[in-house]
């Protein structure tokens, strides 16, 4: 729909624009030498990007763009400013000049470091402080936001996304309602490098003021449409070419160079910016040649990754002891011609069920086709790149959406060549600070079409506490929140607060919201959270409310060996996936395990527990999804932090084999005892022998310490577990439900019941149920 709305505008622009190639750049020869941690075949990398000046200049949602052979610019999509322009770092060795880099590889998605983010390398030529890139209606650049995170108010300016055509990028945003497309570039002549901003304003109804750059304590002069800022022996010069009539430069506060633009009909102009020794300033004029121009972005660009990576799946990589479930591996394209790291963070299926899209932590989107019974010919195409830690993916009407730290992105393949050309910012209201632990996890949609994602808290390097600035980041408005984005992308709201590291959420068929979390500060153990409206899920630093609301107790806690770092949840929507249709499944990222959730609603409080579905995954269990066409469960995962995952990434299918399932299917606690319902009738004498069951129980303390010890249920200060005496076991008439009599059955944070049973068909089995009792009704 959005595409359709945009088309007339684009057509108008195409009709009237003059395309010039004055600023083409040859593919830089250093690209192949870039580390595999950085993008070598895509024009930008998104991250929080630091620059050398002005002081503390960080683009929280930065796009580090390659705009020439030796020219780089960073765009801040929150403030719509160019935070910096620079030339790369080079090193002379043995008479040869070798490329060192243009940003460093600091950061959790790059070199794995905790508490860092990339910063520019080389020689910074211009920069601006963390202020809006365009003045507001009042004509000032004063940051209007409540906190220095998140986007500018929509009426001030709004980021709409970008187009990628070859090595060109066209940015799309509005300023005070005026639609703007902007293409950065560079020009090199006489050993001088100019940074170029080609700007197309569709129509503005009032004057606009654009921030050009800032040079601290500079002497500024303006001569016509050229401005000069002098600081020491360095000069910064800017000129505007084809400026709308009435445009003028101004130097504000002896540092800030701005360009005032009158209300205008469609206008295409360019700003050229140069910095160098004052002695070379006379070469500046030579950088202004050529007309302003934008590439023909509405048509899309040529495919950059046309060749598919073909892999062969493996069937029956594991089976459950009852042989009811088997796993198959959909071998990931981690060996690929582009040397890209593949760490899946999002998964969903297209309507045909034969194709799936997967986003990676490293910002790519892959599409795999050939999902059939045998998995013999899996064809992977790289569909998109450049995302900011895209750890969630959802397909709606065959259109891909991802959640990243900067925005929900909607992808458009304009020329149907199998690659995205338009990276639309569907919603970028989310806040992001420089913290390394500001993951935006998972992406789901409810029946009404609203989207849900969860943002982690800015955990400090080392794992305890939150925020505090620097590379640990700050507690911004959406830190530790479950977020809802309206179907049209216009609105983002906080649904729940107090999460620490919810690497995975779930949205049920009736809009049920669930999350996992990771043990840590204020999280005594990993919970399965059943989210009620405006829930506070426990992390006091991230409650965003005062006074502190009551803790929304989880459906259950899970002990370390069961889950030390939660993954996503999924509701069983398949008719062919065994006896569990309508049930909830929960994944443990840390333990690479999947569990059947056994819920029990007591009054308004959900409680219950889990039983393991003992299958094995290629990597972690993180993004479980049902394929509506084949009815199988699929799981994508990565290994990026503490997990027992075998490989860096994996995609597996969990298939019901048709054999009968032998496990627990329901759990209920009441004054009669603990009722365990099984999928098959049990042997009566065996099931009614209390010696075949054992139970332990214990409590946790939710504190600002990392995790919690285990404490006696009967004596709050005594460490350790209590034995809960099981004194009787009674089997129901249908042979499927055992009622266990437990001495002094009472609420506890954790109860572990283990049993050693025999089915009516004489099959022996051992299982365990881990659960939480908030109330004994």
């Amino acid at each position: 729909m959005y595409k359709l709305a945009l088309l007339p505008t684009l057509a108008l622009w195409l009709f009237s624009s003059t395309v010039s190639s004055a600023q083409t750049t040859a593919a830089p020869d250093w690209r192949p030498k870039l580390s595999k941690l950085l993008q070598s075949d895509f024009p930008y990398t998104k991250a929080c990007i630091g620059a050398n000046f002005p002081a503390n200049n960080k683009a929280n949602k930065g796009m580090a763009l390659i705009v020439g052979k030796n020219a780089f610019m960073c765009f801040d999509t929150d403030l719509l400013r160019w935070s910096a322009g620079w030339t790369a770092a080079w090193k002379e060795t043995k008479g040869q000049t070798n490329f060192v880099g243009y940003i460093n590889e600091e950061g959790v998605t790059f070199n794995g470091s905790h508490g860092g983010h990339p910063r520019m390398l080389g020689d910074q030529k211009f920069g601006s402080a963390q202020i809006p890139g365009w003045a507001g209606a009042a004509g000032t650049f004063k940051d209007p936001r409540k906190e220095p995170f998140g986007p500018l108010p929509k009426e001030w300016a709004k980021w709409k996304g970008d187009y990628v055509v070859g090595d060109k990028v066209v940015l799309h945003y509005t300023v005070q309602g005026a639609t703007i497309h902007e293409q950065p570039g560079s020009v090199e002549q006489d050993g001088q490098i100019g940074f170029v901003r080609n700007i197309l304003i569709e129509k503005s109804t009032g004057p606009l003021t654009v921030l050009v750059c800032e040079v601290e304590t500079a002497k500024g002069t303006v001569e016509g449409l050229t401005a000069t800022l002098t600081a020491g022996d360095k000069q910064t010069r800017a000129s505007v070419v084809d400026a709308p009539q009435g445009s003028r430069f101004e130097v504000q506060d002896n540092k800030r160079l701005v360009l005032h633009l009158p209300a205008t009909a469609r206008a295409l102009f360019k700003i050229v910016l140069w910095q160098g020794d004052a002695a070379a300033a006379d070469k500046f004029g030579g950088l202004l040649a050529g007309k302003p121009a934008l590439v023909d972005f509405a048509k899309g660009g040529a495919a950059r990754w046309p060749e598919p990576v073909v892999t062969k799946g493996e069937l029956n990589t594991s089976t459950t002891p009852d042989s009811a479930y088997a796993t198959d591996r959909l071998t990931a394209p981690d060996k690929n011609p582009w040397n890209r790291r593949v760490r899946f963070g999002g998964l969903d299926f297209f309507a045909d069920g034969k194709r799936a899209a997967l986003s990676t932590w490293d910002g790519d989107v892959w599409i795999v086709e050939g999902i059939d019974e045998k998995l013999e010919n899996l064809r992977w195409r790289r569909f998109a790149s450049g995302g900011f830690e895209t750890l969630g993916l959802k397909i709606v009407n065959d259109v891909i959406y991802t959640s990243g730290r900067d925005q929900i992105t909607r992808y458009h393949d304009l020329n149907k060549d199998g690659e995205a050309d338009h990276y639309e910012s569907f919603n970028n209201d989310i806040t992001s600070s420089p913290g390394f632990h500001e993951f935006v996890f998972d992406l789901h949609a409810d029946a009404a079409g609203n989207f849900y994602t969860a943002k982690a808290g800015p955990v400090r390097g080392g794992g305890s506490g939150f925020g505090g600035g620097g590379g640990n980041g700050d507690i911004s408005a959406h830190a530790g929140c479950l977020l809802k984005i309206s179907k049209d992308g216009s609105k983002l709201e906080v649904v729940a607060t107090g999460l620490r590291a919810p690497n995975g959420i779930g949205v049920g068929p009736r809009g049920e919201l669930t999350t996992g979390d990771n043990e840590g500060t204020w999280v005594p153990r990993c919970p399965v959270n059943w989210v009620t409206p405006n829930a506070f899920l426990g992390v006091e630093d991230l409650a965003h409310q005062s006074p502190l609301p009551a803790h929304n107790k989880p459906l259950c806690w899970l002990d370390k060996g069961w889950d030390n770092s939660g993954g996503g949840q999924v509701w069983v929507t398949s008719d062919t996936w065994g006896p569990f249709k309508g049930a909830l499944l929960h994944c443990s990222y840390g333990q690479s395990s999947i569990y059947l959730v056994l819920p029990q609603l007591v009054g308004e409080q959900m409680q219950g527990g889990v039983v393991k579905i003992p299958v094995k995954f290629t990597s972690s269990a993180m993004r479980p999804r049902f394929n509506a066409v084949d009815g199988h469960l699929y799981n994508a995962g990565l290994r990026g932090w503490q997990s027992n995952a075998a490989r860096e990434t994996g995609l597996d299918r969990i298939r019901h084999t048709g054999k009968p399932v032998l496990t627990v299917s329901a759990l209920k606690v009441d004054k009669q005892g603990v009722h365990l319902t099984f999928t098959q009738p049990l042997d009566k004498s065996n099931a009614e022998d209390a010696q075949n069951y054992t139970a332990q129980r214990w409590n946790y303390k939710r504190t600002k310490s990392y995790g919690s010890g285990e404490f006696s249920v009967t004596d709050a200060n005594k460490k350790g577990r209590d034995n809960a005496a099981i004194t009787g076991a009674r089997l129901s008439a249908d042979g499927k439900t055992v009622t266990l009599t437990v001495d002094d059955l009472r609420p506890c944070d954790q109860q572990l019941i283990r049993f050693n049973l025999t089915s009516a068909d004489a099959v022996k089995f051992k299982t365990e149920v881990m659960h939480t009792i908030h109330a004994v009704p």
């Binding site: 959790v108 070199n111 470091s113 794992g463 932090w641 027992n644 990392y706």
Partner: protein, 650 residues
């Protein structure tokens, strides 16, 4: 001797009768027999190690012996188990009164068939007979999942219980302990032919140069009545009667004159008391001491209120630096403090305490002479080393008739004119010492490393930190986890860097105790005091191990574990031990169990679990995905120590 044992057995029997309805006691009841001599004690596990030619207990003569463990093992679920005995000697095992193992002489190991255990307590009886030749060794393990290819594991102490008895150990042990703590043998020397033991070697503070270290006035008070200064002091009061005060002052005056001209204590540098307080919290001084500013005072903890009266100003930091410098067997450990840290602690300890009284006038020559005379003739030098010759004779231990242990030092009420040292023993303590009397000559000259380690761990108050402080392991598990050589070097203070540098707490050193405690801790788990020879490192396996711990194609262990001088990639939540240390630290059996299922070994660990209960690895394409083979490959890598090549760490 037989009559004593009979009395002892009767007492035990009566005690058992009384205790039948009482709560079960932890561990099993161990009875050791050599000929007619019996010793009993509660045992936390079914393990034993006695070197050939040594005694299985201080009460037993060296030579053949039997050991019998009795009690209950708790199973949490009815199920089939297998028991597995490792060692040398004969083993009989009865479970729920049914014999399940009877091997007259195991040579390496013996395993039962599956044994059905009931949920709850299962009666257990193990009878071990020492081998005709070689070291006696037993480790009784079990496997709760014999259907799975998992290794046998020790039966956790918490699962063992027995019917309590009134006196779990014979009184004679308490007497022996008092005998050592009171340094009785320093006067009443055991037979010259008896081998020396660590307990007989234990010293008292050396008095040479003490004038450089202690205030004279404080020494006078201490000498007069040590218990008035510190209720737990073991030094007796030696001076009695009207002249005691003057005598004590004379001795102190003489000691004050014992100065080492070569040793000039550095000038006290003012330390930061606030930093000292923080440091004291990290070091957990409060585990043993009533620290400044903390009320109420806890009985049993050593007060620090007197330290300005006791230590000369510049001496306190020196003392903290090396508390064992003049007293090898001091209970006070060495904490690897820097000079700055010792001044911080000294500043914190001294803050708010009254200044010591001004030094007395230079004593008269006669006073010094009298002090020296008293020092050499009152018995001080039987315990304390000094430049002077001891002139105090005492009767040898063998010359003390057992029925006379009611006289002298052990008189219930010392006669007013008695010159005997006064230890202020309680009636119970005197009874314990008298119980020791008949067998003393033999019993105090036997060294049992297991008993020694258990006793010293108690005396040195290890439990003030182990089991109490976050990150400090339980003492009961270290002997099965760490190699004795590693424990020895750790306890002796030889480690330059702690294995866990990120912990605020520091494991202090107890150099004099190190070797014997390390041996005892290992032997208490049935492990020899010297590690088995290392397997020859297979370079191919080691290389596979290197791959397994690395990022590329491995478990990415290096995310949390550093390797040599390279820090871990991204420590989050919990750091792991540097791999270059692991080979030297960890007992191989423990290592395998740990790797297979870390949470089973330590329920609080954050080490992930990479292998399932079928001993299958998540990495299926290396070494057939066989967990045990992969774990072995990693072991070959780890055993290289600091010679290991770095794994892929990015």
């Amino acid at each position: 001797m037989p009559s004593i044992i009979l009395i002892l057995l009767c007492a035990v029997f009566a005690a058992e009768l009384r205790a039948q309805n009482a709560q079960p006691a932890p561990g099993l009841r161990l009875t050791l027999r050599a000929g007619e001599v019996i010793d009993t004690r509660p045992a936390p596990n079914i393990t034993l190690y006695v070197a050939e030619g040594q005694s299985a207990s201080p009460l037993l003569p060296a030579g053949p012996f039997t050991a019998q463990w009795e009690g209950f093992a708790a199973a949490d679920l009815r199920g089939d188990y297998v028991f597995h005995a490792i060692g040398h000697g004969g083993v009989k095992l009865e479970v729920n009164n049914v014999p399940v193992l009877d091997v007259p002489a195991i040579t390496a190991a013996a395993t039962t068939k599956t044994v059905r255990l009931n949920k709850g307590a299962n009666a257990l009886k193990v009878i071990y007979t020492s081998p005709a030749k070689g070291d006696a060794q037993l480790r009784l393990l079990w496997n709760p999942r014999p259907d799975k290819p998992m290794p046998h594991e020790p039966i956790r102490s918490a699962l063992l219980s027995h019917a309590p008895v009134a006196a779990p150990t014979p009184l004679i042990h308490q007497g022996r302990e008092l005998f050592f703590e009171s340094r009785c043998a320093k006067c009443h020397q055991p037979s010259k032919t008896a081998a020396s033991t660590p307990d007989l070697e234990r010293d008292a503070p050396n008095l040479a140069g003490i004038g450089n270290r202690r205030h004279t006035q404080w020494m006078a008070q201490w000498i007069l009545n040590p218990k008035a200064q510190r209720p737990s002091a073991r030094m007796p009061a030696l001076l009695h009667g009207a002249t005691a005060q003057a005598d004590a002052e004379a001795i102190a005056a003489y000691l004050g004159s014992l100065k080492d001209p070569k040793s000039s204590p550095p000038k006290p540098s003012p330390g930061d008391a606030t930093a000292g307080k923080e440091l004291a919290e990290k070091l957990h001084c409060a585990g043993c001491h009533n620290v400044p500013g903390e009320a109420p005072l806890e009985a049993g903890k050593i007060s620090l209120a007197h330290i300005r009266q006791k230590f000369l100003a510049a001496e306190l930091p020196q003392f903290l630096l090396a508390p064992n410098a003049h007293y090898a067997w001091t209970h006070m450990p060495t904490f690897r403090l820097t000079a700055e840290e010792t001044s911080q602690l000294a500043a914190w300890l001294s803050a708010g305490l009254p200044a010591p009284a001004p030094a007395p006038a230079v004593p008269a020559k006669e006073t010094l002479a009298r002090g020296k005379h008293l020092l050499t003739t009152t018995g001080c030098l039987n315990c304390h080393g000094a430049p002077d010759e001891n002139k105090f004779p005492a009767r040898a231990l063998t010359a003390l008739a057992a029925d006379k242990w009611t006289h002298g030092c052990l008189a219930d009420v010392p006669p007013a004119d008695s010159k005997a040292p006064r230890y202020a023993f309680t009636p119970e303590e005197r009874a314990a010492l008298r119980a020791l009397a008949p067998a003393a000559a033999a019993v105090v000259t036997r060294h049992d490393p297991i008993e020694f380690a258990e006793r010293q761990a108690r005396q040195l108050n290890c439990a003030a930190c182990h089991g109490k402080l976050e990150g400090v392991p339980l003492l009961e598990s270290v002997g099965t986890k760490l190699k004795p050589e590693w424990m020895q070097s750790l306890l002796s203070g030889a480690h330059k860097q702690p294995a866990r540098p990120w912990l605020a707490h520091r494991m202090p050193a107890f150099p004099a105790y190190a070797t014997h405690v390390a041996h005892g801790l290992a032997m208490s788990h049935g492990l020899p005091p010297k590690s088995r020879a290392l397997p020859v490192i297979d370079p191919k396996l080691a290389e596979l191990g290197r791959k397994l711990v690395g990022v590329e194609g491995g478990f990415s262990c290096v995310a949390c574990h550093g390797v040599k001088n390279v820090p871990p990639l991204q420590v989050f939540e919990a750091q792991g031990i540097n791999f270059s240390l692991s080979g030297a630290r960890i007992q191989p059996d423990y290592y395998v169990r740990w790797m297979l299922d870390p949470l089973r070994v330590d329920p609080q660990t954050r080490m992930p679990d990479y292998f399932d209960e079928d001993a299958r690895s998540v990495l299926v394409d290396m070494l057939e995905g066989d967990a045990l083979k992969q774990i072995d490959a990693v072991l070959h890598y780890l055993l290289q120590g600091d010679k290991m090549a770095l794994p892929v760490m990015q």
